[in-house]
């Protein structure tokens, strides 16, 4: 279980707090989505979970243990993360790349055991990339690369997994495939925390949505509770309607077009 209590994240250069007193839990067996506009603090929470951000107040914990009290290896065994960006400087063979997910489980000589090899095979299978095992990472399409990165996280065999915008740049089919995979992972007992700004997709898959705005939790609840036009309009500062998708019954956000005007569309925030 990933839990965040009254968490504050601040950056040395910034004036305000990137995350300002956020509290939520992502339980095992559930798909929890962290949504919100750009710059609302989603990725900062991921950084705080990895202890890569200053947290002057509050606690981020995994299964009840404050992340700041864990060793590097303990942290990696409790939480797998697929970061938003990952610049591999040099291409690696997919299987070797996924095998890096076993790093926190390696012994003193850091040589993989039979158990490690097995975990890598399982992860490749589970993420549906077993047939890519012998390819180099620079020869993958966007969708394949994202799946391979998820496979690496699965090889970690952690009870919780965080994915930061895993479907950016993917087309509809690949996007859906990734979301289905994440859903199945949650149903297999993992605590899945999905960071995404794609509300409509999130509304179809997530058990709980936590919608952030300016570093605070704006709304939380089930998709139907969160997807309300009045509140989304205030958060995104854009006129919207929420309809129910006739085919699948999930709430769906439709941003409206504004009447044509010459002035800058980014008007000051009205509150």
């Amino acid at each position: 279980m990933i839990a965040v209590a009254d968490l504050v994240v601040s950056y040395p250069a910034a004036s305000g707090n990137a995350v300002d007193g956020v509290t939520f839990v992502a339980e095992r067996g559930r798909l929890t989505a962290l949504a919100g506009p750009n710059g609302s603090g989603k990725s900062s929470i991921v950084k705080a979970l990895l202890r890569r951000a200053d947290t002057p107040r509050g606690i981020a914990s995994l299964d009840g243990r404050d992340v700041r009290t864990l060793s590097h290896v303990e942290l990696a065994r409790s939480l797998a993360v697929v970061p938003q960006r990952e610049e591999t400087a040099f291409p690696v063979q997919v299987r070797d790349y996924v095998a890096l997910g076993r790093y926190p489980h390696l012994g003193l000589w850091r040589s993989p055991s039979g158990e490690d090899e097995l975990a890598v095979d399982e992860a490749l299978q589970h993420a549906g990339v077993a047939d890519l095992a012998l390819r180099d990472t620079d020869a993958l399409s966007g969708g394949e690369w994202q799946r391979v990165r998820i496979a690496r996280a699965l090889a970690q065999k952690a009870p919780a997994i965080v994915l930061d915008e895993p479907t950016t740049f993917l087309d509809v089919a690949h996007e859906m495939a990734i979301f289905e995979l994440l859903y199945s992972l949650s149903r297999s007992g993992l605590a899945v925390l999905l960071v995404s700004h794609q509300l409509n997709l999130v509304a179809r898959f997530a058990d709980t949505i936590i919608l952030l705005d300016h570093g605070k939790v704006a709304i939380r609840g089930t998709p139907s509770e969160v997807m309300r036009a009045d509140r989304l309009e205030a958060i995104y500062d854009w006129p919207v309607v929420v309809s129910r998708d006739p085919a699948v019954g999930a709430p769906s956000l439709v941003p409206l077009r504004r009447p044509f005007q010459i002035s800058d569309p980014k008007q000051p925030h009205q509150k």
Partner: protein
């Protein structure tokens, strides 16, 4: 790829051995292969024994060790900094070592041990200055690897300026010594020098091989590495320091020998190696072979004039790097 591994290591080792034997046999006096083997065992012509054992063999061994150090250091740094253009000298090591050596020359030091030590201390000092600068730039307790790279370049430039100042005040004789050193050479090879370098390589190189897996993880980027259980800042600094230590030891032993640490890891990657443990080892072997060959060329091509070894490696390295660059682009 995996199936070729065994013969492939054999081939790399055989290439180093072959070039070493050729290098020991050739020179102003060519010693036939049989005589080389006899001389190594202490039999035969005393002149041949002296040439092989006291002149050429220490030189070949020193060249191989310098190459191995530069190759391993370069491979580790490129991975840890995630930068294909990183090389052992980029981080202020060479500049700092040169400052140390040139200051020693300028003060009229002639003792080999003093100059070597001065270069080593200078190189290490530069690395710590670069680390300190990177911290200031990072504005927090975290050492950003990109800032570190820039800091190293800045420290290197500063060192170059300091060298100019020191040389302006040096006697012509000392200037020649300093220049020769800055162009790199294995001409002053002795067994004690080779021994010290071998010892430091064994320790530091062993550490690099041990931490190679950590470098694999580091090369994924900072957030990914942190999520896999690596203390990113500490691991990065560690890889950086060990690599710098090796580089400083090689510079102290043979001066500045450019391009080897930059180019050779790319050769090893072109051979299909990816993980850093084999990559570091293969880079060491290839670089050792390359430097022994370059040193052989340095003393035979324009004999009896000896060419600077650093210039030869650069002459060989630049075209190769251009070919690589074309292939990447």
């Amino acid at each position: 790829m995996r199936r070729f591994r065994a013969w492939y290591w054999l081939a790399l080792g055989a290439a180093l051995l072959a070039i070493s034997v050729i290098a020991v046999a050739s020179g102003a006096v060519n010693v036939p292969l049989g005589a080389v083997i006899d001389a190594l065992r202490g039999h035969g012509d005393p002149t041949a024994i002296a040439i092989v054992r006291d002149l050429r063999l220490p030189r070949v061994v020193l060249g191989a060790l310098v190459g191995a150090g530069l190759g391993a250091s370069g491979a580790a740094l490129q991975g840890a900094l995630r930068n294909p253009l990183a090389e052992p000298y980029l981080l202020g090591v060479s500049g700092g070592a040169a400052v140390g050596a040139v200051i020693a020359f300028a003060f009229g030091a002639t003792s080999d041990a003093v100059i070597t030590l001065a270069a080593f201390v200078g190189g290490i000092a530069a690395v710590f200055i670069a680390l300190a600068v990177a911290r200031v730039g990072g504005r927090s307790t975290r050492t950003d690897m990109r800032t570190l790279l820039i800091a190293g370049v800045i420290v290197g430039s500063f060192a170059n300026a300091a060298i100019m100042v020191a040389l302006a005040n040096a006697s012509p004789n000392n200037i020649r010594g300093a220049l020769w050193w800055m162009m790199g050479s294995a001409v002053d090879a002795t067994w004690s020098r080779a021994g010290w370098l071998a010892l430091s390589l064994l320790v530091a190189g062993g550490a690099l091989v041990y931490f190679a897996r950590e470098i694999d993880v580091l090369s994924l980027g900072e957030d990914a590495a942190a999520s896999l259980g690596v203390g990113v800042e500490r691991a990065g600094r560690r890889a950086f320091l060990i690599s710098a230590l090796i580089a400083a030891a090689t510079v102290a032993a043979a001066g500045l020998i450019g391009f080897v640490g930059l180019v050779v890891p790319h050769i090893a990657r072109a051979m299909g190696l990816r993980a850093h443990r084999p990559l570091i080892l293969a880079s060491a072997l290839v670089a050792a072979t390359l430097v022994v060959a370059a040193d052989l060329a340095a003393r035979t091509v324009d004999a009896p004039t000896e060419l600077p070894l650093g210039a030869i490696t650069a002459l060989l390295g630049v075209p190769f790097f251009l070919i690589q660059l074309r292939r990447i682009a």
